[in-house]
């Protein structure tokens, strides 16, 4: 059963990928320019730390590590799950119904709907940033690198959940795409510097309401040597995978409720 889904997913995504590669020049320029964009975020961190080498106890390469972590997870989100951005327009155009009539779980069908090659540009920039910064940060063990992989996928899952939760508003309100920009902005801005530089209200918001801080700040705190400079319990450093699991469950629940509401409205 699971094997069949994996096979099906690979087949669908490789078809998507081939359709995107129909224009190789566009493909190359697109991936290249997104890599460039991703690297520019890393460059900004570098420029600032040339004048101010330590920000709230975080050094140049530690800050680059944090920014790159978010770029990598964002790349995975964009490549494989970007369709959650377009839930509202898919529903308005009536294209969404095709996921419901297929003999597959609608979530699976929806997730395999698209692959966005530009995500690979973000991943590339992120991986370059991670590699460069990790080379300058001592004490990497095999265990830590495995955990880093878990963190990367958890981060992508957190971003996916937040985006989907906002996207799912469309089932009840038939709009909601506009809120997306605000979420994108929060994700882009507040994953680049340690949470401790922000005021208390923002720290509460980014930890407990929209847990953006679990994407890069808390796991970096743990991976870069068990520092705990947040105002909250040091336990939060270890919780990224759990937060991801919890959010994904909540999102799946909301999605199921949303589908029911949508079917109810449609008939």
């Amino acid at each position: 059963m699971i094997g069949r889904h994996i096979k099906l997913y690979l087949a669908m995504q490789s078809a998507n990928l081939r359709s995107h590669m129909a224009y190789p020049l566009n493909f190359a320029i697109g991936v290249l320019s997104i890599t460039f964009l991703g690297l520019s975020f890393i460059l900004v961190s570098w420029v600032i730390t040339q004048k101010v080498p330590i920000i709230n106890g975080w050094s140049t390469y530690e800050l680059i590590f944090m920014t790159s972590l978010r770029r990598t997870t964002h790349g995975i989100f964009i490549a494989f799950f970007v369709q959650s951005w377009f839930l509202d327009s898919l529903i308005r155009n009536g294209e969404f119904d095709r996921f419901l009539v297929r003999p597959l779980n609608p979530m699976f069908s929806f997730a395999a709907h698209n692959i966005q090659i530009y995500g690979f540009g973000d991943m590339l920039a992120g991986i370059i940033g991670l590699a460069v910064s990790m080379a300058h940060i001592p004490d990497w063990t095999f265990g830590k690198i495995v955990y880093l992989l878990v963190i990367v996928f958890s981060g992508a899952a957190i971003e996916w959940s937040l985006q989907m939760l906002i996207g799912c508003m469309v089932f009840w309100t038939l709009q909601g795409g506009a809120m997306r920009n605000i979420l994108d902005q929060l994700l882009a801005q507040f994953t680049r510097y340690p949470l401790s530089i922000y005021n208390g209200a923002l720290q509460v918001l980014l930890t407990f309401v929209l847990p953006v801080a679990f994407i890069s700040y808390y796991p970096s705190s743990f991976l870069l040597g068990n520092r705990s400079d947040s105002t909250f319990s040091p336990l939060l450093m270890y919780l990224t995978p759990l937060v991801a699991l919890l959010l994904v469950s909540v999102t799946y629940f909301v999605w199921t409720k949303g589908l029911n509401a949508y079917k109810g409205a449609g008939t």
């Binding site: 224009y23 566009n26 420029v47 600032i48 101010v52």
Partner: protein, 265 residues
Amino acid sequence: MGKYAAYTITTLKNTQVYKFDVLLRVINSFILVIAFREVWRAIYANGQGLALSTGVTSQGMQTYAMLSVILFAIMPPSISYEISDKVRDGSIVFDMQKPWDYEWMHFSKAAGVFLYSMVYAVIPQLVAVFLFFPIDYPAGVQAAAFAASVLLAFLLSFLINFIVGMTAILFTETWGIEMFKSVITDICSGAMVPLWFFPDAVSRVLLWLPFQGIFNIPLSLFIGKITGTAIWEQLAFQAAWCLILLLLSRVILAWIERKLVITGG
């Protein structure tokens, strides 16, 4: 002139339709204002003698960062996507045949969006910033120079957008070029990091490029980093680049119009 003014007014009216969108945009950039301010406050708190070495106080830098977000809202939108859509469906030909100047047409439209952003985005945001984060603002000559500099910045940004937009006619697919343009503009204009923060060798190069006229000059005027005779030099720098880019855009436009006539038969 009348037809261009009419086009500006029409654009203004069209953009006013999306009220909810405006509200979200204002919220969005207010989040950015707060984020930028907090980041720079922290950076200054951690830097040794930063105010002395850069000549800008923490308060000045916070003002710079907050205003850069607001200034971003009045910069003209990219036209590449619109042009490449029109190239794809062929309607570009009709635009070019109309009895108006193609560049003026786009400028009138950008002016409409400018007026709109001014009223619905910049003014509410400025009021919010003044209420929540008291900042020092310029007066007299300094204020007048800032206003003039913002207009020149708008013009510079428009010309860069127009030139990049023109390439859409040649390549049809513009996504990548547009992306490169925004990254380069964001970095080199001082929108993300002011130019005096870059390593010396880099900032010396960036100071000669037109991009610094978009954010670095007007914002430096606002916080008083540029004073005295330097004010006139910097305004002249912006004006000179506007002139160069204007000439360049005219040459490209003339060349493309000729090319379109030939291929159009």
